[in-house]
Symmetry: D2
Subunit: 491 residues, 4 copies
């Protein structure tokens, strides 16, 4: 397993194909460092004995110890460990751990390549298994590029005026394919080793060229990344882990990019567009049942901390509000547990979370994220957004005035009070705050997507059968099928 | 295992100590039959091969096949099977199966008697194990009597002007004890074989006499039940299972009632008042993670059915509303699964659900029950409460007029349309509707009780530690303890 | 103005064309008395000097003092007085005063007949003014029959297989018209003097025959009412005004009914179908900004009363919950005030409420009614639905047991405690409860209808203009039009 | 009336007593310009004929035309015009107009000085009237400084360890007083002409020294402002009014500041602490019934605009969401109208809004602000927070790639699409977004403060009387008092 430093050294060697604010920059640009710090965390903790077995796993391919972020889950416990790993690591980075995205793409591809082969006699699965063996061996961090630019949303890919609206095959060669098109809103792409491309939607036979999946180094020829980093004002004195973490989203431009054949995992099989898109989406929504509870944990902790700073921690309305975080976070976490237990083993051996539970868990969090920020704001008060800048706390002329301001709870030292307020500002009243809000709604699929998925998968006729039985419309209610379904065992 | 009929025959033999509407009545009073029908369901299904292993279990005491409603769960799968049994049987009775209540009292007593013995060297556990062996053997249905009359709520039991505000020991004899006091809102007591009494709250050393638990036949000497049955207008033609089910709540008066020693399971150990009260409450809240999803299933099915009757089933806003039922019901069910998996084996061997997950699951349902009725009403329209009486549909002079009214969706026959509308009326616009609403909020503990339990059990300091770590207040965040916690295995 | 008794005497003289539960009954059937009691209230209070000028008004036609429920509002103050009258009278009857419905139909017809005449040179308005003069003079109570049976909802009236799905003209004669069809869910029709019929929806030129409006005595030849009364269990000892009030809904069958020409107010002018339907709907939604705050007042009062009975009135969470009723009720009331002030005088002189404010006020209440019941239930506890029947409180054998039960707050007498609990049972756990819930959602138009009306009437382009201005898309934002809009003066 | 430029010139002449980020800065510091632009708007529009009579008024003191932001409302129409002025001007600045704050302080002082004089025979009112005459004449912009630093919140002012926790009188001299203490979270103080100080809470006789109110130029001796400005990244090409607006909050340090007697409006009359604090709060909450609907208008317009950009404007779920903005915004606006109409004329002649309606209006908005941002985010999608920086749209190497990205709705030009997306980013995903969120909750008093005010002012006993009447506890319900209350006339 790589160290955090090795990962960073590898990044620095990459070709400079990232653009930020009008400039082409190398991957150690200071605006990317906060995002790099998040990924570094996944390498650091893997070196720590406390985390053994949680952030590490035995590879199902080689039996070797690997970083769990590169692992293909094989059973319910694997999924539950993944969920727990995400929750706990995300509390270290402020709510998002990011590296799960690549893992979810790998899980999806491990399943889909097998199923495509089974249907069409193609050879994608072996090719993919070679790829992931190397990925585990080299302990890579991949970004999954799913969301296309989409263009006119009322039209299918093949109908778009500009074919680049969706990534597609431009040319097939003996040793590879040439692709073009633009992916957008791709988190961590600018600091990933690899980019893993999967389709974003169901496809028709006319969309054959858009049925394409592959993985490629992020600095490959003819790839450009236009990147928007997000980070918090650097601290001079009141430094904190949270203030050093950040994110970045990229527009990824494939401009007649050549993909060598051994890295192509789908090419033309439009019948599997929807399947592959959903395999990734469901796996990733399951991951959110780990990180979103972490976000609730953090917001809950911050609310409790600032209630202490305001010396109102024991007030009944504060206690009631705190319990709301537990309700939301733990319900989503429970949905993840149920998704693990009622999951399904695919023909490839990869264990996939139950679609319904993964979706209701993710949806709950997406529906509540703004409300959770609202609670923090309610308890913190306006000071979160009116606090003078750190420099004023350090300047001679104003330091004494502001020291007074920090004296609310006599039990809290001036230093800790500054840390607490600065943290709440960073959390609730910064560019990171809106990033967490909007990512909280849309990351991994917005509530409306989850509702659609739920509605497709719910057997409403079975619910109606219950109503019909009770209404006296049918004489018998056949529940034998349901009765026989049991949860999977935990190994 | 008894048949439904044997259960009913046994009921009829009981002493007439039930009062309804000013009269003393026998247990086959027509107003009690709907409630009896619910309990009968638990006996009927146990005879059915489809339900083998779900509504039946192997006794942990005797190894014999028993009705699972008399079983003490021994592991996570037992809890999950109990949850599933409750959900599926409750869809047959309209949302409440009632017999779980007695089972939850038995689970609580199996744990508490052991723990009391361990602390005080008493002999309650063996006594209780003899009792439950007989209970399983005779396949009994017990009502748990927990909620006391309470009197002035600002005072503790021993401070009450009227000591009968809480059930208490009046006299101790060599062969038993004499108790007095009043329990209220006790579901199914009037049609139960046994009444199982447990304390309702934490007690102090001054409340010694109120620390009492026992089980006794429901028609025992010096016990009076003042009972309020609830049921739906009987149907002449458009009969339905739902319209034949009902409930009943009793005020149970203990008036110098003698309890033989072998049926006394706690007597004076006030230190265990809170523990026993919570053991029952948590076990019962876990049961609600089974029945409340059933209520959602029924309301969902009814909404889908009436949307079909209104020919608007495919409308986007209807689909969106339907998905809300899935969200609420399945999140609560998932909370139950998590409660099972993260439960704890007590020293007696009984497996207890995780308190936090049991409470957030139950709370979610209690917070949403009125909203769920709102959805049904929204889609059904006003007709649910303005539909003419069944007799007008049967009377010559008006039958033809009303037949027209039932023609909304041409695909639905007149008969089925009548059944559907009558069912929605019974479900949403009847005395049963308000019973389900109010029981949905308060049965097994209201949301505010669950919030209190959650707050007592949540380690907010650990959440604050996360916030402090991110804020830079502490250097390290010790997560090793959490990391090592794993779910229990499913056998 | 008639006395309550005169109204009742007039009812008793009517032809027996009401059917309840399979029987044809006269209008003094005991099941109709509770509904009659509501309408009686409007006559009783009009005799009371306290209510002078509120429940009475000066007729705009004759200058005579009339019952305001027969008055055509002429200015904003008239609307505000109407709103206040409805709120205050509704607190006397338990939340619904019903007689406003007829008034709203008259307002709508006063406007539409004039507008139809203006467009088509017809003579409806004079005919209608003669009618209303007589209506005011005789102090009548009319039910508005709007909602048709509708049949297959995906089809327009003229497309229906059964033309009776909508009331329509069957034949035109020199002295009148013949109509057929079925209206449903018509509140108070069985105890009204008159039935006032208006169309329920927008019509096309093919629906000409369905464009019909008229008023007719409720016992007219060839009219049948199939009626569903709703009322509360009669009290023996703990009598109360609330328990004596009730409602009734009727299916009204027009079976080749002859309508004399002087009572026909629209006949064939399909272009005004939507206009007339909305004029009634908006006027009636405005009325709900009076009665729905009354419902909130009653639920708030009941919650406060039962909190007192439970001796928890000063608890912070109770206080917080109580304030929610004020928020909902007063916001809706404020919407009514704004609707009055920003209303519009029609060409006939009738003053119509502002459509947007009437709709947002009504919608708010419809969205919150179940939630308001939830609050009451939350504070009352389960006893609301488990309280033994009144007869058990009066029976010798159980009276003493139950007296104990009523001792919660030592300051409340046994009698008052019984009244309070019985009232909460009647309010939250009776057939009246579900009637108020469902009527609260759908009466006068459900939230979804109000949303549609809002969306039709909101100038979203103007909102977008604001966004465009701020976004720098347009250089100037023309607000001059808006600036000049002023509220109407209150006379 | 001053021009915008005159205002700015006057600012520039002020003594440099503002600190930002560690530096002492003059008032034309670039970080303050965005805030200055908001206040400038109030001067610019006053010069525009369209706005005549809305943003201008006739002074009740001099009869001269003045800027309405300096006017004391004399009747309901004055209040309604103020509300409308705030709503319309706020749509120009992005949601907050700020200058109302000073006006609300003046209204409060005009009432309180008179009432204090009436009780204690002091001479504050004349002194204040001289002050406001000058204020109107010179067309000043004042910031109201109410919120104190507060220190330990469980202690009263006089109990604080550090007396500076609340502004207080240090010394009384013949020609004035000397005050010390710190006010926090004071919007626009750094760019105001004057600072108007009022107490923040109810006071006891021990808090006499804290009962102090005065007005003083913002650059007066011994006043320091530590200011936190908030603004949006400046645009190079896609400029917009919204991006040029901003805010600033100041910590105001009074450090033995001398206040000349003619500017002292309260000094020691602790009995009026609560009254004056609430007079300001209620007046300001009323102002929020103007600006918060503007915020809803803007968010609604932005949502509609970005729905158009996404070409989903007509989707049913979008339409439904849009109507929510109307519901929230117009209900709050209606509450303002009701507050105006049911307001009260104080003895000084100033017309004060009805406290209950002002509070429920403000509370509604505070409870919904995060939800409103949620709707915008939901419809906009993730792009709001992942959009590359403007510079990348202008850079040669990436311009063409990003142009493609903006082609979603073919009807929208590239330029307008850029403006629209940049605006949504600025609105929902910027430092301004969190400012509007937190100010939306806490500005002018948080929901919990409004609930407290509501609960103090609601006559819950009157609500209980209704319940008692209906429950049969009281024989009569005296409504004569309520009936006589009529709204105030609009002049």
């Amino acid at each position: 397993m790589r160290t955090a430093n090795q990962y960073f050294e590898d990044l620095k060697k990459m070709r400079s194909n990232v653009y930020i604010g009008g400039d082409r920059v190398s991957r150690d640009d200071s605006r990317l460092l906060p995002n790099i710090n998040i990924i570094k965390t996944t390498f650091e903790l893997a070196q720590h004995t406390d985390w053994e077995g949680l952030i590490t796993a035995r590879s199902s391919l080689t039996g070797k110890k690997i970083n769990r972020f590169t692992h293909l889950p094989q059973n319910p416990l694997d999924l539950m460990q993944k969920q727990k790993m995400i929750r706990l690591t995300a509390t270290r980075t402020g709510g998002c751990i990011q590296r799960c995205m690549g893992q979810d793409a790998l899980c999806a591809l491990s399943v889909a390549t097998k199923e495509i082969d089974e249907k069409f006699g193609t050879g994608y699965h072996e090719r993919f298994m070679n790829y992931i063996r190397d990925y585990q061996e080299r302990d890579l961090a991949g970004a999954c590029a799913q969301t296309d630019m989409k263009g006119d949303r009322s039209k299918r890919p093949f109908e778009q005026e500009d074919p680049d609206a969706y990534v597609h095959v431009v040319e097939k060669k003996s040793d590879g394919i040439v692709v073009s098109g633009v992916k957008i809103s791709i988190t961590m792409a600018a600091i990933a080793d690899e980019i893993i491309v999967v389709p974003t939607r169901a496809l028709t036979k006319h969309d054959k060229d858009f049925a394409v999946a592959f993985a490629i180094p992020a600095d490959w020829d003819n790839i450009r990344l236009v990147t928007r980093p997000v980070y918090i004002r650097e601290k001079k004195k009141f430094k904190s882990p949270f203030a050093e973490m950040g994110a970045s989203e990229s527009v990824i431009v494939f401009d007649n990019t050549f993909i060598p054949m051994e890295r192509v995992f789908m090419c033309g099989e439009w019948e599997f567009g929807r399947r592959l898109a959903l395999l990734f989406a469901d796996s990733h929504r399951f991951s959110y049942t780990g990180c979103k509870p972490a976000v609730s944990d953090i917001l809950c902790g911050a609310t409790a901390l600032i209630a202490e700073a305001n010396d109102i921690e024991k007030a009944p309305h504060v206690r009631e509000k705190l319990s709301e975080f537990i309700g939301v976070g733990e319900l989503a976490y429970a949905a993840g547990i149920a998704a693990a237990l009622y999951g399904e083993r695919a023909s490839s051996g990869t264990f996939c979370p139950n679609e319904m539970y993964a979706n209701i868990g993710r949806r709950l969090m997406g529906e509540n994220i703004y409300h959770e920020f609202n609670i923090l704001t309610e308890i913190a008060g306006g000071l979160a957004v009116t606090l003078p800048f750190e420099d004023d706390f350090l300047a001679k002329e104003t330091e004494q005035d502001l020291k007074k301001l920090m004296k609310r709870n006599p039990k809290l030292s001036y230093e800790n009070s500054c840390h607490a307020w600065r943290f709440v500002e960073d959390l609730a009243a910064s560019s990171m705050a809106v990033w967490y809000q909007i990512a909280g709604v849309h990351g991994g699929g917005s509530p409306i997507m989850e509702t659609i998925t739920l509605n497709i998968n719910t057997d409403y006729e079975a619910k109606k059968d219950i109503a019909k039985y009770l209404a006296g419309i049918n004489e018998e209610l056949d529940q034998s099928k349901e009765i026989k379904t049991k949860p999977n065992q935990i190994k």
